[in-house]
Amino acid sequence: MIAGCKKGSRDAFNELVLKYQKQVFNIAYGMLSDYEDASDAAQEVFVKVYRSIASFKGQASFTTWLYRICANVCNDILRKRQRRGISISLDAEESDSGAPSEIPSSEPTPEESLEQNERQRAVRDAINSLSAEYREVIVYSDLQQLSYDEISAILRCPVGTVKSRLNRARNALRKNLSDKRELF
């Protein structure tokens, strides 16, 4: 499939998009917490993949390379947001978004559902308040369930650095959520 993309096969490329779009979108959404921005970011990621697939040498795994592009695109969008002074909140997102959003079905009680939603919202907000550096390690570790080695390959830093960033990210989340401890 990747070889076909290198040769310029559009069918192979389409197949690649369908295979990886969910993962790319998950990362984008986790980083940006906005459906539209995540969608735009996912499109940008695949367009970049199409334009630069020839330079993929195969030294790293394709997903590592793909996630690296995704992280760069998301960081670019976050920087643009910072310059424009845009902040994203979950409430605004839910009210503006016309796109379907899927809630995992676990069949909790209404109270539990409410509590769960509150917890998730609080954590999401806390993640959004993190710096891009800490946010991306939380996304890759918790949302994507990637290993330390995989994250190290994506971010091009030592595993020790990944662990260190993750520790600081979690400590920051704990601190941000300390006043909402009752939800946990």
Binding site: Y29, V47, A99, R170, R174
Partner: protein
């Protein structure tokens, strides 16, 4: 473990070993506060790991293809060319580096080959004094790079001295000048010339001019009865003159004049020309008188005069009307000092076995 240690471990949760994690749990089981903190921590991790993520747009693929199709074809092609170039850059760089190395090696090989072919010394490359023309009568005896100028009775040595030249000179057999042959030159006499501008480090060799000496002996010099003409008409020409002009004599001029006659025993060199000419020209002297007139010579570069003078002073060398005088030990110390300071010199020793050595200082 106390609560403080517990909190420190919790702050580095991702870096904990299995043993440390178990310690954390053990303390949490005993401490309510720490247990609450650990549960809070784990709950955050659990929640972030289970955050709902909406499905990607169903038209994501279509939008991607639309964007690709809307890109100008040239840009797309350029992108591919650029990416292809980036992909092969390392190969291009490697190939260019190999080509450059090959060219450099080729050039160097050619240069070395040329040097070997053009050299007349069997391939020995020397930066020392060039081999002087065989027709020159005042030629520096060079190391065995070119043994041609060396007398048949002498063994040519390839010497590029890095140690006091005295040791080199000592290795060479001492020859006494026999008054019998007019063509003989005093042993150990510096009859060399130095090519101007060359890295001077000539080698002094005592030589006996054979009946049919080879160049660079002063074959054509007139007989001793006409020393002046010999000096003027000598084939060494300017080089001969250079050595003469730079001849350093002590502060006091010699008072004795040397008459170059058949019996010059009672005469000392009156002029520099005559003195030098006596040293290099053909003359006849009795052995004992020759010993008086023949002096060792220390040849240095003009730039080193000050340094050499300082070394001579440190070594206890003193100046006299006849030249610089010192004991054999002080001479040896002087030469050692010059070597230690990397000062080029050439010491022609023609008088040995005496307690006090007299030498003259020649400057290049």
């Amino acid at each position: 473990m106390n609560c403080s240690e517990f909190n420190k471990l919790l702050d580095n949760y991702e870096s904990l070993s299995a043993e440390e994690l178990s310690l954390l749990d053990v303390h949490a089981a005993e401490c309510d506060v720490c247990r609450s903190e650990l549960n809070f921590f784990k709950s955050i991790v659990l929640t972030s790991s289970s955050l709902p993520v909406p499905e990607p747009p169903t038209d994501l693929l279509d939008k991607v293809n639309s964007r690709i199709d809307s890109m100008p074809a040239s840009i797309s092609r350029i992108d591919r060319v650029i990416n292809s170039f980036r992909c092969n850059t390392s190969r291009y760089v490697t190939a260019a580096a190999c080509l450059a190395v090959g060219i450099i090696v080729g050039l160097n090989s050619k240069t070395i080959g040329d040097m070997l072919n053009n050299s007349d010394n069997g391939g020995v490359i020397s930066t020392n004094v060039s081999v002087s023309d065989s027709q020159d009568e005042d030629n520096t005896e060079l190391p065995a790079e070119d043994p041609a100028p060396v007398s048949e009775t002498e063994e040519a040595k390839t010497v590029i001295p890095t140690e006091p030249i005295r040791s080199v000179v000592k290795q060479q057999p001492k020859k006494t000048v026999s008054p019998a042959s007019e063509t003989r030159k005093p042993a150990g006499v510096f009859s060399g010339t130095v090519t101007a501008g060359s890295e001077y480090r000539p080698v002094i060799k005592p030589e006996i001019v054979s009946e049919q000496p080879k160049a660079p002996e002063i074959q054509e010099t007139p007989k001793v009865t006409e020393p002046t003409a010999a000096a003027v008409n000598g084939r060494s020409g300017s080089r001969y003159v250079i050595a003469r002009d730079n001849y350093h004599i002590p502060d006091t001029q010699p008072t004795e004049a040397v008459k170059v006659t058949a019996e010059p025993s009672t005469a000392a060199a009156e002029t520099i020309t005559e003195r030098y000419q006596i040293a290099t020209g053909s003359y006849e002297l009795p052995d004992d008188e020759k010993q008086k007139l023949l002096k060792n010579k220390l040849i240095i570069n003009e730039d080193d005069v000050e340094a050499v003078t300082e070394c001579m002073r440190d070594a206890g060398i003193r100046g006299t009307t006849n030249g610089y005088v010192g004991s054999t030990e002080s001479i040896a110390n002087l030469l050692a000092m010059l070597s230690a300071r990397n000062i080029y010199y050439n010491y022609a020793e023609c008088v040995t076995g005496v307690d006090e050595v007299v030498f003259i200082l020649l400057v290049n």
